[in-house]
Each structure stands twice: as C-alpha cells, then as structure tokens.
Amino acid sequence: MTPSRRDFLIGCGAGAAAWATLGLLPGEFLVSRVDAAELSPQMRKELAAIALDTAKKLGATYADIRINRYRSQVVTMRSQADRSTGKLNHVPSVSDGETYGFGVRALAGGAWGFAASNAVNREEVTRAAKEAVAIAKANASLRREPIRLASAGSYQDTYSTPIAKDPFSVPIGEKLELLRRAGEEAKKNAGVFLATGFIAQRVEHRWFASTDGSFIEQHVYQIAPEITATAVEQGKKQKSRTYRPHSVTAGYEAVERADLVTNARRIAEEAVNHLKAPSVTAGKKDLVLLPTHLGLTIHESIGHSTELDRALGFEANYAGTSFLTTDKLGKFRVGSEIVNFNGDRVRKESLSTCGYDDDGVKTRQFPIIKDGIFVGYQTIRDQAHLIGQSESMGCCYADSYASVPFQRMPNVWLAPGKSATTLADLVSGVDDGILIDGRGSYSIDQQRYNFQFGGDAFWEIKGGKVGPMIADVAYQSRTTDFWSACDGIGGEALWENVGLNADGKGQPGQINAMSHGCAPARFRQINVLRTE
C-alpha cells in the first residue's frame, strides 16, 4: 500500500514554512542530487590509461582501476509516546549522500599492492598507481610463491539493475509519510512501546578498467525497507518483532509492494503476544523455519563455510577458517539428499547480483551443495589455481573505492523441494515442534560448526498443528547435524528471495550484501534452549 497523494500533500504542507525559508514551493527540489562533478567517459578513460600505464611501466604484471560513485539515502522514523504528555511522537532522521573516488590495484613482483583516494584527478591517480606498485614491491620478498590470476576474459560492457521506479526520484516526504503511517498503525496496539522503521537505498556506479583490456560500467541499485514494533514490560522484559520485506536489487517498487502499514498491524500484535507468551520447554524438538529466519541460518552455516579464502586460512586472524577444508571438496556430506545450494550473482533482484565482479569476471551461477554433498567453493581469480581450478566463480567485491577487492559471498540459496510441498505439509508431520520466523540473536563459531540462533516470533507445533506463540527460544546445533536433519523443504511457490544487508568480513572490515533465497524447511530433533 502506498500513501495517497492527499496524505503526501498533508505531509509536505506541514513543512511549508521550511520550504518558504528556501524560497521554494513545498516539495519542489531544485537540487535533484548531490551531483559533484560527474566524470565524462573520456576523462574516465584518460585516468584509467594513466593508472594502468604507470603501473605497467613500473613493472606491474597486472593492474586495474575502479572509479566508483556511491549514492545513498536513509530515511528513518521512530514512533513513541511522549513521556510527559502521552502524545504520539514521530521522530524522523534523513540523510542523503554521494561519495566517489578511485582505487588502483597492481600485481608486481608476485605480490598485490593497492592505493586509493577520494580526489579523482590526474595527479592523484598517478601518485596512487605508483604507490600501489611500490607497496607490492615492498612486500614481494615476503611471498614464497607469486600470486597467480585465473583468466578473466576481456569485456567492454555495461550492466544496470532493472528498476521500475528510481528510488531517488521518490520524494523524501513520501517515504517519511509511509513510515509515519506504519508507526502510527503499530502504535494503535496499546501494548506497543515504540515502533521504528527505515527505507534505505543505494546505488553503486562502478566503473572498472584493467590491463586485460576490460572497460565495464555498472549501476547496481539496492533497496531495504524495514519496520519493527517493540513491546515492553517495565523493567522485566521486552520483545521486538520486525517486518523485513526482502531487501533486493530493484527500485522503489520493492517498497510499494511491501505493504508496510498492514504488516505494521500484524507485527505489533505479534510483538505483544510474544511478550505475554509462556517460555518454551527446553529439549529436542522438530523445527519448521520460515524463509525470513532460515535465510540467516543459511548465511552463517553454509554461506560462510563454503568461502574458499576461509578454507585456505586467509581469514584466520579475524572471520575464521572453515570446517569444509579443501580435501572435502566433491565428497563430503553436509546435509541430507534433499539439500541443494547454489551460488550466483545473476538471479533477478538478489542483493549480490550484478554483471561483473570486481576482478572483471562475468558473473554466473554455480553449485555449492548437490544432493547433500559439498561440490563447490566461492572463488576469485587469485585463488582458483590453489584448488586446481582454471576459472573464478566471480565472487570478488570491494565495498568502497577505498577498499581492497577480495572474496565475498555471492547469493547462496537453497533450492526448493522437488514436489509442491506446502507449509501445511511440513507442519503436519510434526508432533512436538516450533515454527520460527524472523531474526533474533545469531552466533556461530569461527569454523562454522557450532551455532546458536534465535528468531523474533515462535509458535508451538503440537500434533501437526500450529498453536499459540511461545517465547525465549534458541536452538543450538552443528552445521552438518542440522542440515542432515533436514527432511522437508517447501516447493517453488514458497521460495522467497531473502536479502541480507550488511555482512562483515576482512581486515580492514568491509560490508557486503547478498541474498539467501529459500522456502520454509523442516529439521528433526534439534536441541532447543530456553533463553530467559
């Protein structure tokens, strides 16, 4: 549901005085964007030539430059009664921004070097290219073997996320008004203490050139709406429930189809019921996990364990390694025979989807788990040869022009069940279990064996039927035990493209967004804790 034109004008009308200060009519934007000196295609090519030629002349065997521009906007609203007057306050926060810069990467003496800057001009590009090579050479003597790159091909291409409605063309007032109405709707439930919501949007304009002869221009749009209702029992307990329409690579249409207001009413009721619900009884139970919950379980247990850099020890000092060591590739059983995972950066609307990765490799889909067996790693160009492969799976990404590109998780999704299995089918097979939705507290060890996950809404399942809500639930398991206990996966019609906005990895830390599509799935006899 979208706010009506009338509601929107009311929202703007309240700000007429503020607009008048600027000499404008309400809603009239003269500055449509923070458009600081967009580079011409000719200038970009010239800067690329400077970077790549400088690096090559100084001895680089490979170099690339990314000249990237990021535009982002976050509109948030907190709806909460004033402590003294009881009046419902809607507290807004709006930020908008546009940053750009470049990063040069060079391979020299068999080692990597990188240098980046926010000042995009000839002198700075020259300086950075020299510095990238100098850093590579300074470190080269510490390498026992030179870095090797799998071939990437050479592309002159463009890619743009298909969008129906540019999110930056939608007035900020309209977004605030939508969040205000959602907050108001949630607060109609007297048990709700506060409601929060946001609409976050971003476009990455990535421009890539390499000594392989590639020139690739991409526009990737990401959008993430969300609302949360929190119920509080003063000084005793609190429960929050979030409605998180899947964040996607798409335009504002993703917000318009999400129906935030109706869902605000639902999550308000669920937060309040959750607060009143009795605690779970600990013990082994069957779990039916809904996509908004299961997506993060997939991310932590399968997504991270199948990253090749972790398996090789490249992330041992921070994010950790993986129980899926390279000797297990092609033969190790991770889950039951119905469990199939794919990696990709091509699926429509998934958050990691784009045309080319930051190595200049064309994106693709590839199998990770097939019939329960581990068959594929997420890889990039400088890793493939380490496991005897000749091509990269296209998983290279840097979260900024100023960040070093490295292996990041693509979309990793669970294939739907083969038959047209419904949620009722999954539940009907459960005698004593729990239906779980949403994200709670998530924690997993650094090799991805042991995890404890919670949700933000739990319903008891007894005798094959979903009953009332229960509370204080978390489950603990080991990755292989858990996926081996999977005996039911919903059919294609139930598959949802669950998105994750902010996965952290690397040193210095970088952020990445990807999707973990899945249908609801059932897991037998998992250890459930009472967390009260």
Partner: protein, 454 residues
C-alpha cells in the same frame, strides 16, 4: 593529506557562506590509512587509502537534513548545502529536537603520533616478517594484520562552535595455527603510537598459545570458575557503554531499569571491587575531544554518529564505583526531559584493576578454565544483558593453581553482569586497544555446549 585547523575552518566557512537554513553544522573526517595482511604464511593484500567525509547538517524550526559528500570543490559544496536544505525542508518536525550547541570548550587530547602517520608498507613489513619467519620456522601457519591510520576530525556550526582534532591509531594482531589444525593462538594490540606495538613479541605470544593449545582434551560444558585474560574481559564488556543509557533505564527497557518504574542508580549491583569509568584522557585509549563524527558507512547505515549527544565535550566519568551504579549516560533531549545535565560516555572504558598478573589469578584457582578471548558475541536478552558467544584461540584447564592442559572451545550463555557480580580476583589493568581492563577470575560462568572449532 594532512589537514590543519585552518583548512578545516576554511571549509566550514565555505559551507556556511552558502547556507540559508537557520542552523548549519559541518562535520569533517579525513583519513590516511595503510595496512598489510598476511595469511597461510604469506603476505596477501596490502594498500593505502586517502579518504574524506564531509557531513553537512542543515537545521531549523525543528527539522534537520543531513548530506554526506567527499568533494571539497566550492561548487560541489554549494550543491551539497542546497541539497541538505531541501532534505531538511522535506523532513517532518522532530518532536525530540534540540537546538544547536553554542561555542563549546573542547579539551586538548594528545593522540597523534608521528611514528604512526609516517608508517608505510616498509615500516609495517618488519612486524609482518617477524611473524612469518617465526611461523615458518616452527611449522605454524601465521595470519594477521598490521594497520596504521592518521585521522583529522573537525566540527563547526553557524553559532560559532568549532573543534579540530588530529589523532592516530595503529594495530598489529596475529593468529598462529598448528599444522595439524588442533591448536590456535592469537595476540594483538592497538595503540595510538605505532612504535609502541611490540609486533615480534605478539607473534611469539600467539605461537606459544598455538602450540600449548594443540590436541585439546574433551571437557563437558557446565558452570566453571574462569580466569579471563584481559582481552576476554574486554570482549564481554564491549557493549557496556550502550547498556549504560539513562533513557533506556527510565523507559523500563534495560538491565538498569527498576521493575515498576525508575532506574537503579545508587544500587549496589556488582562486586565490591568493580569500578568502571570512561576516560578520554587516558593516553592508552584516548578519545576525541567531542562526541560524534561525520558518520556514513555502507548503505548509509553508519548513520550520523552521536545522535543527541553530538558535539558535547568529552569528559571523564565514573559509571560504577565499588560495585554501585553511579551514573547512566544522558543525551541532550533526555536531559531536558528529566531536567538534568547531559552526560556522554566518552573515550575508552577503563576498569580499575588489582595488582598481580593473570598467572597470579591462575595460581589462586583450585579448578577452573583459563580463556584467551571470545568470538561472535551477540545479545540474547537485552533486559538481562544475557549474551552468547564462543571461546577462541586457547582454553586451558586449571587444577590446584596450575595449567594442566588445553581443552576444547565452548559456547557460553551468560551475562557480563554475572562476570562482575561473581568476581573473585583481578590482575593489574592493561590496555587491549579500546579499553583498559584487568584479567578477572569469576565463579560459575555458564558454558552451554562444546564447540569443535579451533
């Protein structure tokens, strides 16, 4: 490129010259950072980056709009100011609005060190080489990270407030793993001065931990007396500053809320020996002179750091004194509401320690565990501050005052509140980079399952 106070002032003036809103704030954050990573006994990636964030906040009549850019050209700034004003006008009135701050007196905090700002790949190389040489010679696999950052920050508003700060930070950490994959050790330190970080010594410590943690024996989960090394204490107290919120307590949604209403200031909640401050002037964990920064971040989720604390001068504050809760942080809106002075949490957390070493804590333990650090700590219940997470990089069984051998890693479900309630003894406090904390021996820490991870 190093920034000076005058350059920051000049940029702010350029912004104000184009500003039509009743109030305007500028936040500047410029960095020059370099790093070297190593893993699997080789150097992996290494680089340097110059970056800049300029946050322009136009404010007036209860509204505000923030725009973040990184272009200092006059035309670009003019566009950014106009955009921030339009964002402001499009926003609805903030019912929790606070006026812009008049000129503040910000303290001088010495936190910039030339050894850090001048360090490049060649300077970082010696520490990295020490770790690699040691690991290669002892059949260990080394990975790690060496980083240096120089930072210049400024804030200014049209009411005449202005602050400028230059600071540096450096860090070195390394993880060593045994060839058979059964042992792992970590050591690391962050400090403002690159030359004060003993990289080779840290590498030796990590290697020793790796070798001594190899081939662990199985120990069941349960409640144990635990000797927490300072890093493990620091990991558990990591979110304490966000828990110390007066508003959350007054609103009944925090551990420091009283059931039925009010907060627990004045109550003795922790062990007699627990005294915790925040101290921006402690040279080991210096803070910036004011609260807040230009913010930003991926998807813009970094937000405008500081919220209604933004711009308040940093100050030293005691939060918990001899086990009694003395203060909770108060932002400017809440201060107005409850008619008290704002009270920010600024600088690093500093906990008073005892006199001995971690070895002394071990010597005084009849039976218990010695822990290096934690991993993936998440809040399970915000009301009780119940956390879950896992041990990492070395757990040992202690019997009759002696370390008898390595044991498996565990998942815990427990609260830092219990750590501080059940505390039996402390070592002297040391810096872990973002806090100054002692090693602690505490009773009945709750491990709920075994972890196979090493």
């Amino acid at each position: 490129m190093a920034w000076t106070r005058e350059e920051a002032k000049k940029l702010a003036e350029k912004v104000f010259a184009n500003s039509r809103a009743p109030e305007c704030e500028v936040w500047i954050e410029a960095t020059e950072a370099g790093h070297t990573r190593f893993a699997a006994n080789d150097v992996t990636t290494s680089g340097s980056a110059r970056d800049l964030t300029i946050a322009i906040v136009s404010r007036g009549n209860g509204r505000s709009g923030t725009v973040r850019v990184n272009d200092t050209e006059e035309a670009a700034l003019k566009t950014a100011v106009a955009r921030s004003e339009e964002v402001m006008a499009a926003a609805n009135v903030d019912p929790e609005w606070v006026d812009g701050l008049p000129a503040q007196k910000y303290p001088e905090i010495r936190a910039a060190h030339e050894a850090t700002s001048k360090a490049g790949a060649p300077e970082r190389k010696s520490g990295v080489k020490a770790a690699l040489d040691l690991a290669r010679g002892r059949k260990l696999a080394a990975s790690g990270f060496s980083e240096t950052t120089a930072r210049w920050a400024a804030l200014a508003n049209k009411r005449g407030n202005f602050g400028f700060s230059a600071s540096t930070s450096a860090g070195f950490s390394t993880t060593m793993r045994t060839e058979d994959g059964t042992g792992s050790g970590w050591a690391g330190l962050e400090a403002p001065d690159f030359s004060s970080i003993p990289a080779a010594e840290l590498a030796r410590r990590a290697a020793k931990k790796a070798e001594e943690s190899a081939k662990p024996r199985d120990l069941p989960p349960g409640r144990y007396t635990v000797v927490f090394e300072p890093q493990a204490v620091s990991d558990l107290l990591g979110n304490l500053n966000s828990v110390l919120s007066r508003r959350a307590a007054d609103e009944g949604r925090s551990f420091f809320a009283k059931p039925g209403g009010g907060n627990r200031i004045g109550e003795k909640i922790f062990s007699e020996n627990v005294t915790i401050r925040s101290d921006p002037f402690d040279a080991r964990v210096p803070g910036r002179p004011w609260i807040g920064s230009a913010g930003g971040g991926f998807l813009g989720f970094g937000g405008f750091a500081g919220g209604n604390f933004a711009g308040l001068p940093a100050r030293k504050t005691t939060w918990i004194e001899r086990g009694v809760l003395r203060n909770l942080s108060i932002d400017r809106y809440w201060a107005k509401k409850i008619e008290e002075e704002p009270l920010p949490f600024s600088g690093g957390l500093v906990m008073e320690g005892g006199t001995g070493t971690v070895e002394d804590l071990v010597a005084g333990t009849e039976r218990g565990l010695l822990l290096t650090r934690f991993w993936y700590i998440r809040t399970v219940n915000p009301q009780t501050v119940q956390l879950t997470g896992l041990t990492r990089d070395g757990v040992w069984l202690i019997e009759k005052g002696k370390v008898v051998g390595p044991v498996n890693n565990f998942r815990f479900n427990d609260s830092p509140v219990n750590l501080l309630k059940n505390m039996e003894a402390m070592s002297a406090a040391v810096s872990t980079g973002d806090m100054v904390v002692p090693g602690i021996r505490s009773r009945d820490f709750n491990f709920t399952s075994k972890s196979d991870a090493v």
